[in-house]
Symmetry: C2
Amino acid sequence: MEIVIAPRPGLLDPQGKAIQHALAALGYDSVEEVRSGKAIFLDVRAPSEEAAQDQARDMCRKLLANPVTEDFEIRACGPEEAP
Amino acid sequence: MEIVIAPRPGLLDPQGKAIQHALAALGYDSVEEVRSGKAIFLDVRAPSEEAAQDQARDMCRKLLANPVTEDFEIRACGPEEAP
């Protein structure tokens, strides 16, 4: 499955700003906002997709995401569907 | 839109391995593989969704992704749909 972690809206995201400036320097000045996050792809052994998602949610709360500054979203994807 | 960047299959991903070991230390030993990538959320001013995606693909090739070690995937999402 795929976990996408993004900085919370409203919080400063200096890495996103740096990417935006680098894109502008390359001529992409139509980019109005950039936010930079993480994508984590997990293969989890679990009896069901639901159980796997529950485990992943737990892992996000305990380790993968910072609950103060980040939001996360868990998405199912088949064993070979990660990009 | 959302850009998800993942290390190419078969390449070493030490950050993913570190996450896997940290998860195992927390008791999540059903996690069989972890790969660690990036998620970048862009707001782009463009005449159409297709034009925006074309621009994003260009940006990935020129700056955002490393074509030797990373694969990327571009996904449309509405202005407020980023997680």
